[in-house]
Amino acid sequence: MPRFIDNLFKSIDKAAEGRVRGAARTHGRRSFLAKAGITLLGAAAATPILPFDRRANAATPLPEDDCGYWKHCALDGNLCSTSGGSLTTCPPGSSASSVSWVGTCTNPDDNKDYLVSYNDCCGKPQVNSAKFCYTSKGERPGYRMGLYNDINWCMANTDKGYHCTVSVVVGMAE
């Protein structure tokens, strides 16, 4: 779901946005999306496009479990913070991927760009109720592997089952 639409849905965030990555998803999310999709086509056609950085200037920061939270700007996956982990930690009993992809996201507090490592957590099934996010700012296909978010980054681990994804700020972009 396009990020500029997120704002429209803050109040119904519980229903979640996003596309399915991997296996079957919860009905709630999907059903919501189905409806939202229809609505949004209308909305997008009828209303002006929201500016890209609108959220950065919003008065209230988004919660960490919202797909619009700034660190999640290029995250394709289930939030580990809704799977038993946190923003930066894998849920207990899983393993953190030894490789990852990286996004460049703007922190609305200082308006600076940060490098965010999106590590997958591995070796467990997905949590059915996990919040699924699908954002792709700066994302590129597999020819820029380090920016690619459609692949299972558990690929280099001993246990390769995809569980969830963390957003770890590992550097400043410049």
């Binding site: 709630g28 999310r29 982990g85 849920p91 207990p92 953190a96 990852s100 590590n119 059915n128 109720s129």
Partner: protein, 380 residues
């Protein structure tokens, strides 16, 4: 939280400006070493294609997701008495939906949601909806009793120390293995009897000791999974009667029956996969009930949860339910109930007793928790 290898692949491929790095403290990637403290509720989300899941949630009103454990297809589960180890049995087909079958017994550490060990158990293991009586720890927790079905029924006695089945006890026409005192289990049979089976450490086992006919599987069938209360087994019938069975002797004996719905209008009856739960501290039974009952409605979702006082054998509470068909209750003095619906929602109920009447009040809900919540258990 332990720290972890951080991104050798990525950091090598990105040229980070050195200056910026000087003024910036990177966050650390880690793995939670253990789940947050506090009592837990475990919900088995059983899959018939691919992995099943056991979701672990904080048991308070927030029902916070703490993580999961991932066994195979048509998983069964049982929690050790101390709440520390979860045992699961599940099926692995080589090609997920076809090919040779391996059945794995896992022991998981609840505190860390990690695998402690796993080993193979006999492949006759039943591929069936999760039920407590199909995968149970023996009285001393040294053995695990695993239901087989080919569809001929038998029970594998698994020595948890030796990590292997020491016996396959044929239980023709019978279903479940409910641990009794000692190295013994009780099973319920299609001829209306119950039977006691005993085994020995060397894998030998005795002929079954059969009860007299206790119930009529046509007219008033029993749900296969009883609760144990005050040493006895309490079976619930499709028509809403309790059959109290004493399995402490050689053969099971019917001690008593209790009618719950006599004089109640609306054709109420129990329904669901796990329709009955018992809290020993309060001596209360809890039962998922629906109205308009008829032949075939015994799995219908609940409209009410009835509370039955075991001492007085009376219904002492009727509280609104939320379409659930699986129920569990905590062990302590202040019972907390958890019930799951076919839609995958978990509802938490608080218990209150006043003037001899019990009221269950919805106090917490997790919508969209599971695809197929088949069994619930608590560690408190």
């Amino acid at each position: 939280m332990r720290s972890c290898t951080v991104l050798p692949f990525i950091l090598a491929s990105l040229a980070l400006p050195a200056a910026a790095q000087d003024t910036f403290t990177p966050e650390k990637l880690g793995v939670e070493a253990h789940i947050a403290e506090g009592p837990n509720v475990l919900v088995l989300d059983q899959s018939w294609n691919g992995p099943s899941k056991i979701d672990v949630l904080g048991a308070d009103e927030g029902l916070k997701m703490k993580g999961n454990m991932g066994p195979g297809t048509t998983a069964q589960m049982v929690l050790s008495r101390d709440g520390k180890s979860l045992y699961t049995g599940s099926v692995y087909m080589q090609r997920f939906v076809y090919g040779p079958v391996t059945v794995i017994l896992h022991e998981w550490d609840l505190a860390t949601l990690s695998r402690k060990r796993e080993f193979e158990i006999p492949t006759k293991f039943a591929h069936v909806e999760s039920q407590p009586g199909l995968f149970a720890l023996s009285d001393d927790e040294a053995y695990l009793l695993a239901q087989n079905a080919t569809p001929a029924t038998s029970v594998s006695v698994i020595d948890l120390k030796a990590e292997k089945a020491i016996a396959e006890i044929p239980t023709p026409g019978c279903w479940t293995a409910i641990p009794a005192t000692g190295m013994k289990f009780t099973t319920i049979c299609g001829d209306g009897t119950l039977a006691s089976y005993a085994w020995a450490a060397d894998g030998s086992f005795a002929e079954p000791k059969k009860s007299a006919k206790i119930f009529d599987p046509d007219a008033d069938a029993l749900f296969a999974n009883p609760v144990r209360a005050e040493g006895k087994l309490i079976y619930l019938s499709f028509n809403g009667n309790l059959y109290v069975v004493d399995d402490s002797g050689e053969a099971p004996v019917l001690a008593e029956t209790v009618k719950l719905t006599d004089g109640v209008i609306g054709k109420w009856a129990p329904g669901g996969s796990e329709a009955i739960a018992y809290n020993a501290a309060t001596g209360k039974l809890f039962i998922l009930m629906h109205s308009g009952a008829k032949e075939g409605s015994h799995k219908d979702p609940a409209q009410e949860i009835w509370t039955v006082d075991l001492a007085s054998k009376k219904v002492v509470g009727r509280s609104p339910a939320h379409h659930e068909n699986t129920l569990a209750v905590s062990k302590g003095d202040a019972p907390v109930l958890f019930a799951a619906s076919e839609e995958g929602n978990l509802t938490r109920y608080a218990y209150a007793e006043a003037d001899g009447e019990v009221t269950l009040t919805k106090a917490g809900e997790f919508e969209g928790l599971s695809s197929f919540p088949a069994l619930i258990t608590t560690d408190f």
